[in-house]
């Protein structure tokens, strides 16, 4: 859970719920929005990091998501969940950012440099290279392969996978972000898992290879 700053809690005694904070912000109390930012920043950061794959971009997405949320707060339906709403804004912005980044890379205006993105460097992540199942997370090769496999997904697939598998979002929410139908969103989740499996099974599975599915025996 996110720990609230005591000073904020004391000055926002009644801000014990998002709905109250939203209402107060709309009434002109900017400090009420601070409660929402402090309450949801970690969750939005986690989503953004998983979608973008680096810290610098994730932090940028978090800031932009809250800025946009503030600017559009008047359009926010009070019955909705602020956390879910700001999540959607962050996911949308992260997709835009990834697309833009891809275009920039394609045009080679400037090579992408993640100055603070060393957390993605497999070498810095190694704690123990022992290939036991318990230590799989620390296997350099596997981690490298996982990052490659995630990066190879399309923006939609990565978004759908992150939102469903890691963030537990409903298919309808994913569909809204992807601007697709629920059925298409579900297929995107399936495609993402299938691609990840194809890429990672050789590094993970010690058992027999996947059989032809849907067959009879």
């Amino acid at each position: 859970m996110i720990r609230m700053q005591p000073s904020v809690e004391s000055t926002q005694a009644i801000a014990d719920s998002d709905a109250v904070a939203v209402e107060r912000t709309l009434a002109g109390d900017r400090e009420a929005f601070r409660v929402l930012v402090e309450r949801h920043s970690h969750n939005v950061f986690r989503l953004a990091y998983r979608m973008t794959g680096n810290r610098q971009d994730a932090e940028e997405v978090v800031q932009e998501a809250f800025l946009r949320a503030y600017q559009k707060l008047g359009q926010f339906a009070a019955r909705a969940n602020f956390g879910t709403w700001v999540y959607r804004i962050a996911a949308n912005y992260a997709i835009d950012r990834m697309r833009r980044r891809k275009k920039e890379e394609a045009r080679k205006i400037e090579p992408v440099v993640h100055e603070e993105g060393t957390e993605n460097d497999p070498v810095t992540l190694v704690h123990d290279a022992a290939p036991t199942p318990e230590r799989l997370a620390h296997n350099v090769e596997l981690r490298k392969q996982m990052e490659i496999a995630l990066a190879a997904l399309s923006h939609s697939e990565r978004t759908a996978f992150v939102m469903r598998h890691w963030e537990g979002c409903a298919i309808e929410e994913i569909a809204e972000v992807l601007k697709s139908s629920s059925g298409a969103a579900k297929n995107t989740v399936f495609r993402a898992v299938q691609k990840l499996r194809l890429a990672l099974q050789p590094f993970v599975g010690s058992g027999p290879q996947a059989r032809a599915m849907g067959t009879e025996s």
Partner: protein, 265 residues
């Protein structure tokens, strides 16, 4: 026994299947499908071990400190979003084009035979287009000049904030497309060509990051300069001003000579 498909097992694992009970029942009696599900789960479990860095306990406070100075005094009410500059710009462009279409159509309907009226129609159509495009070019020029003059506040600053110019470029893009298409329809290929070049520069700016390094900014600046787009925008803008003055007293006789001037630019 018919086995589950990979899709069915993934849907089951990810909790998006409507047939949850049926799949569970099948898995209870089918060792092969259970093994297959375990293989899928092994991949997903490995992915779950990918770490997410902890941004720190005070992360929320830091985010607030970073965004607070950029927040407007009050959030925008839902109805105010209709008056956002982006929408207003596009609406104004559409309105200008509708006026052209309306006036042209109205005049044509009343007296198709009259040569004077046809000339008037052309003048009105041109005047509205000239005024609208002239203003658009003025705004574009201002944005490009400001972008060219952008610089770090402190010499040691690593990033330059061009997000304001970026947003303006996004707004200008919508208008630019409309005017370029209209210029093409009107047969003004020289104006369409300059608008086309401007559009590419606007696209570049709109797709740049909100904050750039001085080196990135220099590249954007060089690109603007190398294409000479500022010069072209100024020349066409001035020419449109002259055209605006000239439209009322005299028919567009000088169009060909002006067009050749613009082509030179």
């Amino acid at each position: 026994m018919k086995h589950m498909t990979e899709e069915e097992l993934i849907a089951y694992r990810e909790g998006v299947t409507a047939e949850r009970v049926g799949v569970a029942r099948h898995l209870a009696v089918c060792e092969e499908c259970r093994a297959e599900l375990e293989r899928i789960e092994a991949v997903l479990a490995a992915l779950d071990t990918l770490p997410v860095p902890n941004p720190g306990d005070d992360y929320g406070r830091r985010v607030w400190q970073q965004i607070a100075p950029r927040l407007p005094e009050r959030p925008v009410e839902w109805w105010q979003s209709w008056f956002e500059p982006k929408r207003l710009g596009a609406l104004a462009a559409v309105a200008a084009l509708l006026v052209i279409a309306f006036l042209a159509g109205r005049i044509t309907k009343h007296d198709r035979a009259s040569g004077d009226v046809v000339a008037n129609k052309e003048q009105i159509r041109e005047r509205v287009l000239v005024v609208a495009v002239g203003e658009h070019l003025g705004r574009s020029e201002m944005m490009l000049v400001e972008l060219s003059n952008a610089a770090p506040v402190h010499p040691a600053q690593k990033q330059v904030d061009i997000s304001a110019e970026q947003r303006r470029a996004e707004d200008l893009l919508d208008e630019n497309r409309l005017y370029r298409q209209t210029a093409l329809q009107e047969g003004d290929s020289a104006l369409a060509s300059v608008l086309d070049e401007l559009e590419r520069v606007l696209l570049d700016v709109a797709h740049s990051p909100g904050e750039v390094t001085p080196a990135q900014l220099e590249k954007i600046r060089q690109k603007i300069q190398s294409q000479g787009i500022l010069f072209k925008v100024r020349v066409v803008g001035r020419e449109l001003e002259e055209r605006q003055k000239a439209i009322a007293p005299a028919p567009a006789e000088h169009n060909s000579s002006r067009e050749s001037e613009r082509n030179k630019a």
